[in-house]
Amino acid sequence: MDNFIIGAQAVLNLPSILLIVIGIITGIIFGAIPGLSATMAIALFLPITYGLSPTQGIVLLIALYVGGISGGLISAILTHIPGTPSSVATCFDGWPLTQKGQATKALGVGIVFSFIGTLFSTIILIFLSPILARFAIKFGAYEYFALGIFSLSMIGSLSGKSLAKGISSALFGCMFATVGIDMIGAVPRFSFGVQSMKMGFNILPVMIGMFAVAEILKAAEESRHPLQSETIKINIKGIKGFGFSWAEFRSQWSNGLYSSLIGTGIGILPGIGGGIANIIAYSAVKNKSKYPEKFGSGIIDGVVATETSNNAAIGGALVPLLCLGIPGDTVTAMLLGGLTLHGISPGPLMFTQNVDIVYGIFIALLISAVLMLLIEFYGLRAFVALLKLPKSTLLPGIFIFCVIGAFGVNNQMFDVWTVLLFGGIGYFFNKIKMPTAPFILGFIIGPIIEVNLRRGLMFSQGSFAPFITSPIATVFLSASLLSLVLSGIKNIRRKMDKKSI
């Protein structure tokens, strides 16, 4: 308890609170605008924290992180373009809800469950982090390989009608991820002698292209319909609170808990990265559901799954960062940098040597969660009002920000051209009815599988045996086999049913 008081002393002062408020608002804005992600917000603010005290600096970054991850739901739900890679799966059910005129409800659910996810993972972080961190390092190459395979086996529930197309799409994702310098042998692959291609494709421009540009092209295709109304009608009057009922909230309780666990778990494992927590949680909740066929048609279960898990990944990702100084993804790597800049190196002694920082972070997370809930609650009606803007002006505006976001990834035009390339690919995928979500999953998971397979074989000097004898790996591999067999059976059964009709 004493530690909390030290932490509170470090954070509960006017400048720090003000920084949290600024961080949350900026984070939400960066998250909500497609192209500007939470990662970018943190990258841009990192140099600014240089001039602040260590606690103030890290508190600002934490607030940006929480706000940015949550903010992504706004554009995912309202425009069908995910605001950050963490909200890709929010589009699946969030956008159909908007089309049905229930945007307020979708947003309300997303906001509340973002809050729950953050809160859940923060509590885990506070009480269990040393134990979990020691467990997380048990994951070596074999285990990450198995976990990657398991994540890919989720394709089944993301594929829609054809499993073959889903797998093909994931393979395309894996293939495009191989472009650039090979992470193990440092040899260039598929660069075709072009220097810029050696850098490979960054997830942010790829995602912007696949979703934002594809959406603009779709709008261009439909704009000639004279009868099509440009804006979506939404009735805000008569909606109270967060726009959903207590009964609806209670019905989502188990989904929320389940997704919190998945999100926190994925966040804790440094090799996987929080960006895909939303996709995996969505598939898992869908598989678990009694009515999987309704997913994608606009039910709140989908929004609950994605928005709880992506925020839960935040607390998870901080576990290995604070206990072991191991960043799980680019965001936590920058948080680590933010601490190192001030001469603080997270590690086993962090919890005893830097109590003020560690507990300051805990308290900042809790305050950020509450502030995020409040700010988004009061902003809810303003967000929905965005839908009143005609698509024809909203989309070009969004694209300009996408250009800035893509450019900002590495300060160069190559990433902006990437957006256009993947926009074309995304549009083509839509045309040939190839689902895009498995592509993103493959793009992120493919490298994890490849690197860990090859690392594992280096460790075992060429033997495949440890991939099967490691208990953790065995569990994941058999689970993925089971999941693949099950979705194969489902697929066949569905075809049989259709034939009998």
Binding site: L44, P47, S162, A164, K165, I167, S168, L171, F172, C174, M175, T178, D182, G185, V187, R189, F190, V213, I216, L217, A219, A220, E221, E222, S223, R224, H225, P226, Q228, E230, P390, S392, T393, L395, P396, G397, F399, I400, V403, I404, F407, N411, M413, V416, W417, L420, G424, K431, I432, K433, M434, I449, E450, L453, R454, L457, M458, Q461, K498, K499
Partner: protein
């Protein structure tokens, strides 16, 4: 009419399969250029080979399935998609291409403003009135505002072009 839709549905899967086969062959051919290192047990070319071969087999299956599958359902959604505007899509794509191309020369602000106006008019539906003046104003404000915000606060050096 029914026959036509059926045919179309079949051909989408067919196109998809053929595209996948072509891509996998191209990818496999390109993977032969990867430098092979002897230090590592599995070289950099290993996984690309696997990806390419699996995609190749999968697309063969798709094509075979497609030629066998004569029964076709779900006609309503397909019919709706027929009414699209390929020309507008092409123009949008071309416009985006030009936008990125000229940005390096004329700078972010001018390019974005022009892009905004042209793209907005491309996207607005046929019957609606276009207010170019207003669009130009909004576009200019948006690009100038974001340019300065990102340039001065965050040091993102967006192409500045002619104005500076």
């Amino acid at each position: 009419m029914d026959y036509k839709i059926m045919h179309r549905f079949k051909s989408i899967d067919g196109i998809c399969g053929i595209f996948c086969i072509m891509f996998s062959i191209f990818y496999l051919l390109a993977s032969t250029n990867i430098h092979k290192s002897t230090v590592v047990t599995l070289g950099a070319e290993f996984m690309p080979r696997i990806y390419g071969i699996v995609l190749f087999i999968l697309s063969c299956v798709q094509i075979i399935n497609c030629s066998r599958n004569i029964q076709v359902q779900n006609t309503a959604t397909e019919a709706r998609l027929e009414k699209n505007d390929k020309r507008n899509v092409f123009l949008t794509f071309l416009l985006t291409f030009c936008y990125l191309g000229i940005m390096q020369i004329v700078g972010f602000i001018i390019a974005s403003t022009l892009y905004f106006v042209v793209q907005a008019s491309l996207l607005s539906s046929i019957g609606s009135k276009r207010r170019y003046g207003l669009l130009l104003l909004v576009g200019a404000l948006l690009s100038i505002g974001s340019y300065y915000a990102f340039h001065t606060v965050f040091h993102i050096s967006l192409p500045s072009g002619l104005l500076f």
